[in-house]
């Protein structure tokens, strides 16, 4: 995965935040997705400005105790988002 890409969520979603988790509804294919806390946090950072590497750095700065898992978590989550076609890189 190109860590210099700037991920952005596609616009065809209705998002409901429940506690610290998200449920997404894709209005094009009517699929529903559940995001746990960490996936929801990653989703929240995708603003089309931050690169994937920026997001990893920001999360490591915020949660230094989890630094060893954060890089893998972010990349795997991004890959899942790409597979489900819920994000695009700009």
């Amino acid at each position: 995965m190109n860590l210099c890409g700037k991920p952005q969520a596609r616009s065809n979603f209705i998002i409901e935040k429940i506690d610290k988790e998200f449920v997404l509804f894709n209005t094009e294919n009517l699929e529903i997705m559940y995001l746990n806390q960490s996936a929801a946090l990653i989703w929240s950072l995708m603003n089309g400005i931050l690169t994937t590497q920026d997001m990893i750095d920001l999360l490591i700065e915020t949660y230094p105790e989890a630094a060893s898992e954060i890089r893998t978590d972010v990349i795997e989550t991004m890959q899942r988002f790409l597979e489900r076609d819920v994000i695009q890189f700009i």
Partner: protein, 290 residues
């Protein structure tokens, strides 16, 4: 008993008027929509008519809005076809609330919702909950949450048991089977049956909904039991919203709002012994989320 009858049922904003001609047609109607069933008195936005006929030669016909939609010689299949058309109509027209493909039972004051796709084991689990756990039967098919109201409507109908579920449910089967009580053949159809413990209620208070169970029966599997977060519960429940296409924003926000005071559980099982302790615990569950 006259062989002619007319019935009316109101559910989820629609009205159905059913006319029957012929003794067996009337028996089917009596069975599916008992004469003393709560017909509802809400304002309706759409209506449909059904006509069930049975002649002395053993031929049956089903009309919907004067159009012939089925004819044949199996009375059980007529019952099953009529029931499915009725449910389909209610789901197709409903736009004034959330309509879920779900069963429901009542335990003491609380309502337990049991959503699930066909074949997930909803009816089998409901039969067991009614017989073994002392729950009252509400429905095994449709539950309606009208917008802006504090009540939930369940579509009152007989249990619709798949023949494949019989080995599982046989030890707990405490029902009047349509074949035995109403002398209606089920040679080619699934079994339709009345549970022993009807609630008698078609409307219950929304705030009595405390627990949502998502069962998945799987032959010979070990038990897997998960408590769900509110978001996970919403995710699973949304997949059983049958009238989403009729609702603003697909009813997504309204569905998630239901999660406020509800605890969801997802489980896979192959025998009731595996889930007995967990079910016993959750049906006594009070509010989990605040």
């Amino acid at each position: 008993m006259s062989s002619l009858c007319t019935r009316e049922v109101v559910f989820a904003g629609s009205r159905a008027v059913i006319e029957c001609d012929g003794l067996i047609a009337r028996r089917i109607c009596d069975f599916i929509i008992p004469p003393d069933a709560d017909r509802g008195n809400e304002t309706t936005q759409s209506s449909v008519s059904f006509f069930l006929s049975a002649n002395n030669s053993g031929n049956f016909s089903l009309f919907q809005n004067d159009e012939l939609i089925w004819k044949g010689t199996d009375s059980g299949y007529l019952a099953e076809k009529f029931l499915s058309q009725l449910c389909w109509y209610f789901a197709d027209r409903c736009n004034n609330g959330l309509l879920f493909h779900a069963g429901a039972v009542q335990y003491q004051e609380n309502c337990i919702l049991i959503p699930g796709k066909c074949g997930s084991g909803k009816t089998t689990l409901i039969s067991w909950l009614v017989k073994q756990m002392g729950c009252k039967y509400l429905t095994d098919e449709l539950v309606f949450f009208p917008f802006g109201k504090k009540v939930v409507q369940s579509f009152h109908r007989p249990l619709h048991l798949k023949k494949a579920s019989l080995p599982v449910i046989q030890p707990f089967l405490d029902v009047d089977r349509i074949e035995e009580k109403y002398h209606i053949s089920c040679q080619f159809s699934d079994l339709i049956a009345v549970p022993g413990n009807y609630s008698g209620e078609s409307q219950i208070r929304k705030d009595t909904l405390k627990v949502i169970l998502f069962p998945q029966y799987q032959y010979d599997s070990s038990v897997q039991w998960s408590s769900l977060t509110a978001a996970e519960t919403s995710f699973h429940l949304m997949q059983n919203l049958v009238n989403a296409r009729n609702l603003e924003g697909y009813g997504f926000s309204e569905t998630t709002r239901l999660m406020n005071k509800v605890q969801g559980y997802l489980f896979t099982y192959s025998s009731f012994n595996q889930i007995y302790e967990n079910i016993l615990r959750v049906i006594h569950t009070e509010k989990k989320h605040t």
